[in-house]
């Protein structure tokens, strides 16, 4: 994997991009949110300390999706009325990036897919079904959430968002889909639900007493 590097515009500490397409990162020393503009690195803000969360995953955790090895490069922590969940930015061998979501230890790996005519938030009501990739997906939850923190490297600039709508869908098998309405054009992520053991994770977080 080609690595870009630079130094933090705030404290001068070395910054290393583990993933060539990273657009932003958080300085591990001063928590500055740094956006990459190819030549210069620009500091756009400071992230607050991440709220207490209990994901067993952390930056640099490694694992497998099927037979593809991946490494965790960054994350977004979302907060909604009933708690929080994590979207871990993973980079697969070969450079493809995806997301490993962890909602109360329910894990799903998904990738953005190009689909036209995605439903509007109003159309994607609970219980409604849509067919993508020859799979019938049904809306199981609609969540209003906002980011509660970011960490590591992300494939897009993402630091100043208010409440947005996320629509989760499932199938009769282990398929998983999310409609992300953060931007004007919705983005569809499709993937599968995976078991913790199936991910064969290494460098996971440790828990007192476990």
């Amino acid at each position: 994997m080609t690595k870009a590097s630079g130094s933090c515009p705030n404290c001068g500490a070395p910054l290393e991009y583990r993933w060539s397409s990273s657009v932003q990162t958080v300085c591990e020393y001063c928590q500055s949110l740094v956006v990459r503009t190819d030549v210069d690195l620009k500091k756009v803000g400071v992230v607050a300390d991440l709220p207490l969360d209990a994901s067993p995953i952390q930056l640099l955790t490694e694992g497998h999706y099927g037979d593809k090895h991946f490494i965790v490069a960054g994350r977004i922590l979302y907060e909604y009325e009933h708690g929080t969940w994590n979207e871990w930015h993973i980079v697969l061998d070969g450079g493809r990036d995806g997301w490993l979501s962890d909602a109360q230890n329910e894990f799903a790996v998904s990738f953005p897919v190009e689909v036209s005519n995605l439903p509007s938030p109003e159309q994607a009501t609970l219980g409604r079904s849509f067919s993508w990739n020859n799979t019938r997906f049904t809306v199981v939850s609609r969540t209003r959430a906002h980011y509660a923190g970011v960490e590591g490297e992300l494939p897009f600039e993402y630091w100043d968002k208010t409440d947005v709508t996320f629509v989760d869908l499932r199938s009769a098998r282990m398929d998983f889909a999310t409609l992300d309405y953060s931007d004007d054009t919705p983005v569809l992520y499709i993937g599968t639900l995976v078991d913790f053991d199936e991910l064969r994770l290494t460098n996971v977080r440790t828990f007192e007493g476990w």
């Binding site: 591990e28 969360d53 009933h82 708690g83 230890n105 049904t138 996971v204 977080r205 007192e208 476990w210």
Partner: protein, 445 residues
């Protein structure tokens, strides 16, 4: 994490109750949304650094969970260890009678949450589903739901109310919370949908577990609670048994049939004795007579005694005793003959038969004679009749007896299996009288 070794180890924390000041450990790290104060039972907001009281405890009598919070061990069906972190009591009202069950929330920081439910000593290990049952995602009123190729039959729809909570929960929990619960069963599994007011549905699958397996997995002292009644997804002890018994019975019946057919073909049907007699009802006071001695040879086998008469429009009963001339052993039986005929409105009719026979299934070899005691109408006409004794006659008595003995055990088991299913469905929305589909599983395989 400058050195890349990861985030600091997640530490067990404690919250202090603003109501009573007592400290309560939080066991699920950042997952806890609500924590119940272990001292005053107030429900606290675990996400709030200052900790606020969300609900104060009102119920007069606290419920002690059978499995204490903090208990760690394994649960049937899952490899990793789980720790009991939360407990709630929920109830449903059926015909104004409250039924309460207990739910334990279990946690593993890597594998997440599982549930143990207990009602009347019946346990279920429950996990939320990640894939959906076929069809609509709302439970609806359909009688059958299919999940992963397995059909589940609707058992009950009810409103569950939370009446007591203890420990911590990764969701908002309050005493008084209500959800619609729809249960479908395919013993030993229970497919459930919980629908909240927002019409959000959580599907879960419970697998029936024995109390003793829960107790040993969690290293619990003492004995699990005594099992009462039949639970919705309790596997029938007759499941597969009656089917197996019927298959065995069919095999035995086939064997019996082969023996029977062989017997029919090999029976000698040998005439051992024959005598023509006359019975004159009015003249004879005592018509009893004994026949000469005759030989019944070979192995012990069936003997048939036939009475053929010229009886017409009267009746005659013949009492017989087949007596062994040497040992005095007697086989007593009677044959009733009655035969009436005539012409009525130009149509001939008849009723009864002028002949009868009786088969003794097993008579040992020896020298025998018959004692014959005919009896009839005083005013009757004289009747001529012939008595014939046939040795080693083909008989189906043994076969019919064998069939009864073969069929009885599986029949009893099927009855018991049906009774078990009736007790199961008696607790459902489909109790006897409401639906006819309660008998569908009687021939369980």
């Amino acid at each position: 994490m400058p050195d890349g070794t990861g985030r600091p180890r997640a530490a067990v924390q404690a919250v202090n109750c603003p109501n009573c000041g007592a400290a309560t450990a939080v066991r699920t790290f950042g997952h806890a949304v609500n924590v119940v104060c272990q001292s005053c039972r107030s429900i606290l907001d675990a996400k709030d650094p200052g900790v606020t009281i969300l609900q104060k405890y009102k119920e007069a009598v606290p419920v002690d969970p059978l499995i204490p919070l903090g208990t760690r061990g394994t649960i049937p069906g899952w490899q990793p260890a789980f720790e009991v972190v939360g407990f709630q009591v929920r109830q449903i009202l059926v015909d104004e009678v409250a039924y309460r069950w207990r739910e334990y929330l279990l946690f593993n920081p890597y594998h997440g949450f599982r549930y143990l439910t207990e009602y009347g000593g019946h346990w279920n290990v429950v996990a939320t589903l990640r894939s959906l049952p076929d069809g609509d995602h709302l439970p609806g009123d359909s009688g059958i739901r299919t999940y992963q190729g397995q059909d589940y039959r609707h058992f009950q729809t009810a409103t569950a109310t939370t009446v007591f909570v203890l420990g911590e929960f990764p969701w908002q929990v309050r005493v008084g919370d209500q959800v619609a619960v729809v249960d479908y069963v395919a013993p030993s599994q229970l497919l459930s949908a919980e629908v909240n007011a927002d019409k959000e549905v959580t599907w879960s699958l419970g697998v029936y577990a024995k109390g003793k397996d829960i107790w040993s997995g969690l290293s619990m002292p003492g004995q699990p609670p005594v099992v009462e009644g039949v639970f919705a997804d309790q596997p029938s002890p007759y499941q597969g048994v009656s089917g197996r018994m019927w298959r065995q019975a069919a095999l035995l019946m086939a064997l019996a049939a082969i023996v029977w057919i062989a017997h029919l073909f090999t029976a000698r049907q040998q005439q051992a004795f024959r005598q023509a007699l006359v019975y004159n009802p009015p003249s004879t006071q005592d018509a009893s007579l004994v026949t000469p001695v005759f030989e019944l040879d070979g192995r012990a086998s069936a003997v048939q005694v036939e009475t053929a008469s010229n009886l017409a429009n009267q009746w005659m009963d013949v009492g017989y005793a087949l007596i062994n001339n040497d040992t005095g052993q007697a086989f007593e039986f009677a044959e009733d003959l009655s035969y009436y005929n005539g012409v009525d409105g130009g149509e001939a009719w008849s009723e009864g038969s002028p002949a009868a026979s009786f088969t003794l299934p097993s008579v040992p070899a020896g020298r025998y004679f018959l004692r014959i005691e005919p009896e009839g109408e005083r005013t009757g006409k004289p009747v001529g009749y012939t008595v014939t004794v046939v040795r080693d006659v083909a008989t189906s008595v043994w076969f019919l007896g064998a069939l009864m003995l073969i069929v009885l055990p599986p029949l009893m088991t099927s009855f018991r299996a049906a009774a078990f299913e009736r007790r199961r469905w008696q607790e459902s929305d489909h109790a006897t009288g409401k639906s006819s589909d309660t008998d569908k599983d009687d021939d369980d395989e």
